[in-house]
């Protein structure tokens, strides 16, 4: 089974040198989402340094599988309901 790497970035990129062995790309995408959720849950103020946080998933050949990003924005949401 292939090894996948989960780098994380909030302005500062932290490389995952250990990786994790998973069945396939779909399992790596699920793990990437779980990692994103877990880290956001325990983040303190540091998220607001950049207002953005990403998990970048690569396979062992450095092929880009997926990037999951959470971003804070003050743009008006589309179709803001009027009271």
């Amino acid at each position: 089974m292939p090894r996948y790497f989960f780098n994380t970035r909030d302005g500062h990129c932290v490389r995952d040198n250990a990786g994790e062995i998973l069945a396939d790309d779909a399992a790596a995408r699920r793990e990437g989402l779980a990692v994103l959720g877990e880290i956001l849950r325990y983040q303190d103020e540091s998220f607001w340094n950049t207002g953005e946080f990403s998990v970048i998933v690569l396979d062992e050949n450095a092929r880009h599988v997926v990037t999951l990003t959470t971003r804070a924005t003050r743009d008006d949401p589309p179709e803001t309901p009027t009271p």
Binding site: T8, V14, I39, Y42
Partner: protein
């Protein structure tokens, strides 16, 4: 053995007779390799195990193969003193590094409770502190930030290792991989990797291989909201 005496003596005076009783309690040292169980979940030991060197983890396992480490044991810790009364282990204790342990028969421990009340209270206190450590870990796991949780673990381990002469000048060895730290913190290895990077960037600690140097103890304590009361490291008669 000296580690246990050093630790108990931090809390109250141990007489030479009590120290002799502790020495007489132990069977010859045995080695246990890393990853092997020191005490097996659901077993019914007829002895309690004292850790003489290395690190162990108290743990519970999950159906999917996952594991939660609920306490890290250091030299001088009686890892299952409570098996004297609990009888059946509700959890296991695994060697996280190569370790040396010594067994103390339950028959001899029971004899201590009948003849040496002060020493019995000191050993009782040690199991109470195990419970206090669990309360702190539960609070950290449920409510602290990721960095605060890691900072709390490092502050606790430094003080416990320092008590038994295995750390000084705010430096100690922690030969645990990030997945093992993840099992102790209840976090993924990727997250632990990121927290180690954050705590280094904040210049709270330097961390090279297994060597940890605390650069800013007050800063680490503040980040962790660490209050060492639960380790009961002051002298007061029991």
């Amino acid at each position: 053995m000296n580690a246990l005496i050093d630790k108990l003596a931090r809390r109250d005076v141990l007489t030479t007779e009590e120290q002799a009783v502790l020495y007489d309690l132990l069977e010859p040292p045995r080695k246990v390799p890393a990853l092997a169980d020191v005490v097996t979940e659901h077993s019914r030991p007829n002895h309690s195990t004292l850790l003489l060197s290395g690190l162990v983890g108290r743990y519970n396992t999950l159906r999917d193969g996952g594991r939660q480490i609920t306490q890290i044991g250091v030299a001088g810790d009686f890892v299952d003193l409570h098996s004297l009364l609990m009888k059946q282990m509700d959890h296991g204790v695994v060697a996280l590094t190569d370790v040396v342990v010594a067994h103390a028969s339950h028959a001899k421990l029971r004899a201590i409770t009948e003849s040496w009340p002060h020493l019995t209270r000191l050993l009782w206190l040690d199991t109470i502190i195990d419970a206090a450590i669990h309360r702190q870990w539960l609070t950290a796991m449920g409510r602290r930030s990721g960095v605060g949780h890691l900072a709390h673990l490092l502050a606790e381990l430094y003080l416990r290792l320092e008590t038994v002469g295995l750390a000084r000048d705010y430096a100690f060895d922690l030969p645990l991989s990030q997945p093992v730290l993840g099992d102790a913190l209840g976090l993924s290895a990727v997250h632990v990797n990121r927290l180690v990077s954050e705590i280094r960037r904040a210049e709270l600690v330097s961390w090279t291989g297994s060597r940890i140097q605390i650069l800013d103890w007050p800063g680490l304590v503040r980040e962790a909201e660490f209050d060492p009361t639960y380790l009961r490291l002051h002298q007061e008669p029991v």
